[in-house]
């Protein structure tokens, strides 16, 4: 059963079977809503929920549902940045490279000249900025959420790429590609139903 003096992450990491508290943290207070319908959601704290699970009132600093909501919100924002910044960055670099003309990799002076032309283009710099934003958002998302949560969710970027292809580049997108995007979205919705973090804060 639940122990006293723990954080949400501790409980999630241990994941004891049949622990109401764990179920509660995953499903955001469904137990409380079911069992104490009169309790207003904002007033229901982890103290109450664990009292229900263990029969003892532990010392809990912050309401669990608030920690859950904040974690989810931060993770969603960072994943949203990732799935937009990556395709936009790639698109800008592709556009920039098309504008710089012939690309020769050999001899060396020709290659340097290509680099010179590429880095003299604002579009390429904007693309690089987007890709750096993507990497930073990815790292920040991984600082709080599981890799097995962030990695599949980032696949939504394929959907953004398709939307950009249609609305920005005026390309047509085949039905099979849309179907693939729909399958990705379905997959991400399954992942979204799980808790973003199942490990402890620091190792």
């Amino acid at each position: 059963m639940c122990e006293t003096n723990y954080s949400a992450h501790d409980v999630l990491a241990r994941d004891p079977p049949n622990c109401l508290f764990t179920k509660l943290s995953y499903a955001q207070l469904w137990v409380c809503r079911e069992r104490v319908p009169s309790a207003p959601t904002r007033a229901v704290e982890a103290r109450l929920s664990c009292t229900m699970a263990t029969g003892a009132a532990p010392a809990v600093a912050r309401p669990l549902y608030l920690m859950d909501t904040r974690l989810r919100l931060k993770t969603y924002v960072l994943i949203a940045v990732m799935i937009v910044a990556n395709p936009v960055g790639t698109l800008l670099i592709a556009k920039g490279m098309k504008h710089i003309g012939d690309v020769k990799f050999w001899p060396l002076p020709a290659l340097l000249e290509v680099f010179g032309r590429a880095f003299g283009t604002l579009t390429i710099w904007a693309g690089i900025a987007c890709l750096i934003t993507f990497i930073a958002a990815n790292m920040l998302a991984l600082s709080m959420a599981d890799y097995s949560y962030v990695q599949p969710a980032a696949a939504l970027g394929y959907g953004v790429t398709a939307v950009l292809a249609v609305f920005v580049l005026g390309e047509s997108v085949s039905p099979l590609r849309w179907a693939g995007i729909a399958v990705i979205c379905l997959g991400v919705s399954f992942v979204r139903n799980t808790h973003p973090r199942t490990t402890e804060g620091r190792r």
Binding site: S148, V191, T194
Partner: protein
């Protein structure tokens, strides 16, 4: 044939492994407490001092060069769908290397994402 298999392993296992090293480094660095640019930059700066970051970057770089080498003699339409196995390797690695709890719901999600990514790439 042997070289091809080795390169695929490099792209899939080493590439995903590199990302997982990054994840490990970030978990060691600590959580981003607030969504503010200053806090984010501080955290990223701290992360650069963790050795796992550099192991991850080296692994991702070798995976990238293996991909380029693989593409020099294999068709893109074959290489990229096989690379969608990254998601499955990522799921397994998360369980055994990062100690995450990958529930059946997550596995279904990962499987669907794998299929979806393959469809998107084949359709191109």
């Amino acid at each position: 044939m042997m070289l091809e298999a080795l390169l695929f392993v490099m792209v899939i296992v080493v590439g995903t492994g590199g990302e997982m090293c990054l994840a490990r480094a970030m978990k060691q660095t600590g959580e981003l407490e607030r969504l503010r640019p200053s806090a984010a930059i501080k955290l990223l700066g701290r992360a650069l001092r963790v050795k796992w970051i550099w192991i991850g970057v080296a692994m991702m770089a070798s995976a990238f060069f293996s991909l380029l080498l693989l593409l020099s003699f294999e068709a893109l339409s074959f290489v990229v769908p096989v690379s969608a196995l990254n998601y499955l390797v990522g799921g397994l690695g998360s369980m055994f290397f990062l100690g995450e709890h990958v529930s059946w719901q997550r596995w279904i999600g990962i499987g669907l994402v794998c299929i979806g990514v393959t469809m998107v790439v084949i359709a191109k």
